[in-house]
Symmetry: C2
DNA sequence: ACCTGAACACCGTTCAAGT
DNA sequence: ACCTGAACACCGTTCAAGT
């Protein structure tokens, strides 16, 4: 006659689970940023104690990994397209948008790639890009090089872009922000930074997405020479 | 007749300075990793109080930025070569080796690039690569795209590589480590990860530096089509 | 098996006080 | 102007105790 032991409810509250914890972590990261994810904020949001979270998750690192993996897994759906080059562009844009929506992914993905043993997201990203590379007819000996180049460009450029988007003040618009970056770069020492100053002009009013895809096409052009 | 006010010495100890603090921070990062850099460890090493450090440096973030900038500035010396493609390879290898020597640069550079306003290292890297891009005869409208693609690949691939190198256990050799990664990848689900499993074989016994440079050449091949 | 919440060790930062 | 070091607020993690 005590409460049911189905595990589904506990005093009316929703039962705690790894999924619920990861979900709350993602919400916290999205709304409060990387520094906003603390076990104290998490316990408050989930109305529980810190020990309860540690029952489902080993530590904060594992929680961050799980949050990253969940978002990336939901993002990387198989592209439906005939041309593998369009497939690569689709994967790239999917990741671009995911990073735009969850800026904390930038740091997280960088640390995951530069860490061994590789977690589950590295093969995920590798597989999504690599399949298209294979379909493209790239010789097998170049698969690793090609896929790595694409992956690093996508993650790096998307992260840089998310920063630009995020830095736009709620009030001000995007062009004004780019102008301010351009101004800062144009104030650099002409002797030491001639190139950077020259390129600063191109920054003004440039289209993020187009710029990002132009980089993809540059690498695709390099790949085309491998056949 | 009190102590001299030259500021050069204080009770026999070397005077504290921003440079000494940054130097100690780099040593700490190199020997104890990112988590090893704490103000307490720093005060001990410099035989001072925490307040003294805060007199020269605003906060931990600024200290990390300064450490990163110091290492990158010392790394990026103008390459002495006629062929701009060799110049790009030289810059890439310089950064590759710097990251190998200071693995904490990976995270630091990723966060610096994906943050606004950009700190001093972003223009530094941009300038070093971009000058060679310009000399290469790339049309000005493609300068930003080209330089970004190279920068992101270099930073990403070098970071991934440093992780592999760092994961090699002191006792075991590098081939054994790569074997273990390969084994892990080959254990992935054949239905979900056919590409990653196939590419795992290439990982066994591959040459880091050669692989890294192959990626550079891939992008250079793409750049060549722009002319 | 799953959860509670106090306690611990550690961290970045501040600041009144010294020289 | 530059340094000392105690104090503060906050953090990840543990664990005896409960159900």
């Amino acid at each position: 006659m005590t409460s049911p032991r189905t595990g589904r409810s506990r005093r009316g509250k929703e039962a705690l689970s790894r999924e619920r914890i990861v979900g709350a972590a993602i919400e916290l990261l999205d709304t409060a940023g990387e520094s906003g994810l603390t076990f104290r904020a998490l316990t408050e949001r989930l109305a529980t104690g810190s020990g309860a979270i540690y029952w489902h998750v080993a530590n904060k690192g594992e929680l961050l990994d799980a949050a990253t993996d969940a978002v990336v897994a939901a993002t990387l759906t198989p592209p439906v397209t005939r041309d593998p080059r369009d497939g690569i562009r689709a994967v790239a844009l999917d990741l671009f948008e995911a990073i735009e929506k969850h800026p904390w992914l930038t740091t997280q993905l960088a640390t995951q790639l530069s860490r061994t043993p590789w977690s589950s997201v590295t093969p995920r990203i590798f597989e999504a890009i690599g399949r298209q590379v294979r379909t493209l007819g790239v010789p097998e000996s170049s698969w690793f090089t090609t896929t790595s180049a694409l992956a690093h460009y996508i993650l790096g450029a998307a992260g840089q872009n998310a920063a630009n988007a995020g830095a736009t003040e709620p009030g001000g618009n995007r062009d004004e922000f780019l102008d301010s970056v351009t101004d800062a770069w144009e104030k650099l020492d002409p002797d030491e930074y001639p190139f950077t100053r020259a390129v600063a002009r191109q920054l003004r009013g440039h289209d993020d997405r187009a710029q990002f895809l132009a980089g993809i096409d540059l690498i695709l052009a390099g790949i085309a020479t491998l056949r």
